[in-house]
Amino acid sequence: MDFTIILQAGIASGTVLLFATIGELFSERAGVLNLGVEGMMLIGAMSAFSATIATGNPWLGVMVAMLFAGLISQIHAFIVITLQADQVVSGLSLTFLGAGISLVLGEGLSKAGTVSLLPNFSIPLLTLIPILGKIFFTNQSVLVYVGYLLVPLSWYYINRTRPGLHLRAVGEYPSAADALGINVFRMRYFYVFVGGMLAGLAGATISLAVSPGWFSELTTGGQGWIAIGLVIFAQWDPIRAAVGAYAFGALRRLILDIQGPLLLLGFNNPFYYNPYLGFFLQMLPYLFTVIVLVIGSREAMRKRIGAPAALGNPYVRGERGK
């Protein structure tokens, strides 16, 4: 087994998680938990594939995916921001809604044949870096490079710009932000939309780049949930989110590839001879997600790991005595 090839594929696979994680991170930094990532990714994957088949232009597919997923996210935004309903319940139903819509509209797409994919290319000089050059900069999809740019830009935006300052304030202490003339409601709608668009991009990354095609709900295979876990793991920081996303991308590839060869490090490969062990391995990322979510849902723990203080709470204006 050539590990650089596995890692190279892992980075591509991690880019899916990266987009979804950063999107959810923006939404949560503004104080809105959106458990509908999986649904929005399905919408994105389906609409990207569908639009690309119809037009032959994968770039148009990406744009349609982002727009469609972004619009779907506004249902959640309306329910939790304007109607002030429970964010967990609304987010879960968004997942079901997204899955339902994409399965119905995507009916028959799996037999529709192949589409023109987004281009892959290498970055000239950077490929020459030993090992890393091959893993990060050789024959990767254009979206992988977009991912590299998104991470530092997100960090800089959140921590070093005026809108980023406002974003953090809205998620930490919305009444303070409101008192200083920041429109909390508009900000929250906007960042839920950003989260939706990035989830849509994550879906498009699957269906147009990483594992092209439409395979109904197996297309995303629960990666939206891993992204939600990663946000907590990342402690709401884009850089840590990138580390987590790529690590999990690589892990997913490794688990797939490890079941292939007859020999592993010179021994009979137990994962080849016993496929159930492979299934167990495939389960591990989700087990991690469950554990992280359980830990992250404890109030005391959330404070300690730096969750946005207003995460999950609807903002109600002008309550007397507050």
Binding site: T161, E172, Y173, A177, G181
Partner: protein, 536 residues
């Protein structure tokens, strides 16, 4: 600066030479069921500190929230520098040069001082070079005597420092009129002096200050002129503070002469009931909140814990009541260890708990008075009957308690969320006291209550003391502690700085000074060594 020899009368604006910067005329503001401001007039001169006095709920904050653009008045006009203004948001008010520092700070804890001050401004446009602004803010702080590190995160700052950030936030926005809502409620005596110095520096530089308070002595110490509100009506507007006695102001505030001293029998302490030995505990963030704290309470005495908010008082009460883990040390109640047991264990050993958060910890808001008063009794007859709740007996008990504790409601099936603060506190005290506790811990039992209700609560606490119970009273109101307690411990950063005996020295200025120094972190033995205060 001000002519302080004028007689104590209302001064019509036309006779003053100093221009008015703010004029409010006939302000009316209603809340459901309350007329918070009833045709109130208010005038502020340039370069003055104007005290706005009144009891809790008198409508002071409402009036100022109207001026600061947070509320919209139903009738009346606001003139700023002679021009009529309509404010639809605090932003509008700030644009007209009026800014307010609220009692509860509006600061984002995870952000730095500079970030908090820049929040909501149009400048910088996009990229924020914090170091540039850090130095600007440090300079501004220098000018007004507001020392605070611009790079510090808000959660690292003391309450006094946070207040300075709030003031800086307004000064940075260039306000001419600063409204301070109960600014001293959260400060230690020495910090109050610092605040006063700042306010004086501000008026020396041409700003004007409105100082909202219910504390007479503070207002007469700092204000040039005073206005008084009672139940939404102005009972005095703009009288020179030098020419009016405290008694007169008190009468204007409450409409009757206040009794400052409580009827308290001499203390006859018995055995030690509560013994807290060297306890350590963490706060919700996992940071140390209590660091080796010891104290004891004997039967038949009220022991106070004084301190500035956030020095471990909440954690102390939670460890004692069993609601927070005790990392080290132990809490003994009549010789039994109750720390790190269930709360039920403490209750069964005679503990009563009047928590800080009345509406969520002290009661279940949507349940009836009956349900709330049986919460500690339903395990035993007469409420428990054949393994079931006997609601008849429960209602009977609730009605008895309603009578005995003077809970003013039509009937006991009313959900407690509909009760006023005073009535709710009586429900909680009724539940706790009727269990005949040997020990009671009460945290901020009178916060937010009006004078009548406060008197009632004080009376109930003294009754407990006379019945031979041990009472631990944790409060931020020094006056309350001094008038009720037999001894007072002072807590600072999770440690006890010292213990003073109060009995008979309620009015002793030296005692207050000693406590004040301990509240800001000077241990008692050091104070005594320096001979600053004469203790015992």
């Amino acid at each position: 600066m001000m002519d302080r020899s004028k007689p104590v009368t209302k001064q019509p604006s036309s006779t003053t030479e100093i221009p008015l910067i703010v004029e409010m005329r006939g302000i009316v503001k209603r809340f459901p069921g309350v007329l918070a401001n009833d045709h109130v007039n208010f005038e502020l001169k340039r370069g003055e500190i104007h005290g706005l006095l009144g009891e809790n709920g008198a409508g002071k904050s409402t009036l100022m929230n109207v001026l600061a653009g947070l509320y919209r008045q139903e009738a009346g006009t606001i003139l700023v520098k002679g021009e009529p203004k309509v404010f639809s948001s605090p932003r509008d008010a700030i644009k007209s040069g009026i800014g307010m520092v609220h009692q509860h700070f509006m600061l984002v804890p995870s952000q730095t001082v500079t970030e908090n001050i820049l929040l909501g401004l149009d400048e910088p446009r996009f990229i924020m070079r914090l170091p540039d602004y850090d130095s600007k803010i440090a300079e501004l702080g220098e000018r007004f005597g507001l020392k605070v590190d611009p790079r510090a995160k808000i959660w690292q700052l003391s309450v006094g420092e946070q207040q300075r950030v709030e003031i800086l936030k307004m000064l940075y926005r260039g306000v001419d009129v600063l409204i301070m809502d109960e600014p001293t409620a959260v400060l230690a005596p020495q910090e109050i002096e610092g605040l006063f110095t700042t306010l004086r520096a501000m008026i020396a530089q041409g700003k004007s200050v409105i100082f909202i308070s219910h504390k007479l002595q503070e207002v007469s110490a700092i204000a040039d002129r005073v206005s008084v509100l009672r139940r939404g009506v102005a009972t005095a507007s703009g009288v020179a503070s030098k020419g009016v006695s405290r008694q007169e102001l008190a009468r204007l505030m409450v409409g009757r002469d206040v009794i400052f001293a409580l009827d308290k029998k001499p203390c006859q302490p018995g055995d030690v009931v509560l013994d807290v030995r060297d306890i350590h505990a963490e706060n919700d963030k996992g940071l140390p909140a209590l660091r080796g704290l010891s104290l004891n309470v004997r039967a038949g005495e009220i022991v106070g814990v004084a301190g500035v908010a956030g020095n471990g008082q909440s954690e102390l009460s939670q460890v004692i009541s069993g609601m927070r883990e005790c990392k080290q040390g132990q809490v003994l109640l009549d010789g039994d260890t109750v720390s790190n047991h269930s709360t039920l264990y403490g209750i069964q050993h005679g503990m009563a708990y009047v928590p800080e958060d009345r509406t969520h910890v002290g009661s279940a808001p949507n349940l009836s008075i009956t349900d709330n008063v049986i919460m500690k009794k339903y395990r035993k007859p007469p409420i428990l009957k054949n393994g079931l709740l006997d609601m008849k007996a429960a209602t009977k008990l609730a009605n008895e308690l309603k009578q005995a504790y003077d809970i003013v409601v039509p009937n006991v099936s009313t959900p407690v969320r509909l009760l006023s603060g005073g009535n709710l506190q009586r429900v909680i005290l009724a539940r706790e006291i009727s269990g005949l506790p040997s020990f009671m811990v009460a945290v901020q039992p009178t916060r937010g209550l009006d004078v009548g209700a406060i008197e009632g609560v004080h009376h109930l606490l003294l009754t407990q003391r006379e019945a031979g119970a041990a009472v631990l009273l944790i409060s931020e109101e020094l006056e309350e502690l001094l008038s009720l307690s037999d001894r007072v411990y002072v807590i600072y950063e999770g440690k006890i700085m010292g213990e003073v005996i109060v009995g008979g020295r309620e009015q002793d200025e030296a005692l207050v000074d000693t406590i004040g120094q301990m509240m800001t972190g000077t241990p008692l033995d050091q104070i005594q060594k320096e001979g600053v205060a004469a203790h015992g």
